[in-house]
């Protein structure tokens, strides 16, 4: 089970937030300046090597950030230890599953 002491979890949450903020701002800017107008343009945009790396990193950051945040919500409100012992692993499992999905999408994107 992934355990993070207080400081490490907090730091991870901040670091992933900074990366995601930068990615979102740049991505939105790209969409506003030159929105993809067809499947080919969209697919082309997302299959560049740099874009794949940045996007996979974005989702890694997102899922880790979500883990820290949702774990905080559970730690704050769920005081029954047995319930926590079920919820947190389920959460972790769900996030890992989503991560695997992302990897699958971008593994095969280049064709």
């Amino acid at each position: 089970m992934i355990t993070l002491t207080g400081l490490r979890a907090w730091l991870v949450q901040r670091a992933t937030a900074v990366y995601m903020l930068a990615f979102i701002v740049l991505f939105l800017a790209r969409f506003v300046i030159a929105p993809p107008r067809s499947y080919d343009e969209w697919h082309g945009l997302m299959s560049g090597a740099g874009m794949i790396a940045a996007t996979v990193l974005f989702f890694a950051a997102l899922l880790t950030h979500a883990w820290v945040g949702l774990r905080d919500v559970v730690l704050d409100y769920v005081h029954v230890v047995a319930l926590r012992a079920v919820l947190l692993p389920l959460l972790a499992l769900g996030l890992v599953a989503l991560g695997t999905w992302i990897v699958r999408i971008f593994w095969t994107i280049g064709g």
Binding site: R14, A17, I24, Y39, F59, L62, A66, I102
Partner: protein, 132 residues
């Protein structure tokens, strides 16, 4: 109030914790909004990844995803997500700056909380105006 003959010390002491009677300062609103928007965003991630997946599979699937934008329920959900993302980003940036001692004193903190709270709603209203 009934008169009791049993020992009063045995009973558990009550607490006052009625949230409807306790003041929620602007920073507290920003904070609970940050948590709520975070949970909303988290619940939307699986569907978001699904849409991403489909949109990249084939031109037909891509068109299907775009077609969703005509659906009114989808538009309303999208506006909720716009609020969630805007508030989460604004309140989150406020936290990041506060962490390095920028705007962490009370007067500045109150102002930035107002901006985060109003900003999120304003952006969502803009989206609603454009999409509804």
């Amino acid at each position: 109030m009934a008169t009791r003959t049993t020992s009063a010390t045995k009973r558990q002491r009550p607490v006052f914790l009625d949230l409807t009677q306790i003041e929620m300062p602007v920073g507290a609103l920003a904070s609970i909004g940050h948590r709520l928007s975070g949970v909303v965003l988290a619940t939307g991630v699986p569907f978001g990844i699904y849409l991403l997946d489909r949109s990249l599979r084939s031109p037909q699937a891509y068109r299907w995803v775009l077609g969703l934008c005509d659906d009114i329920a989808f538009r309303i959900a999208a506006i909720v997500f716009v609020w969630a993302l805007s508030h989460h980003l604004l309140a989150g940036t406020r936290h990041l700056l506060s962490d390095v001692d920028i705007g962490s004193q009370l007067p500045a903190a109150r102002r930035s909380a107002w901006i985060a709270n109003i900003g999120g709603v304003a952006i969502a209203l803009l989206a609603a105006g454009a999409w509804l």
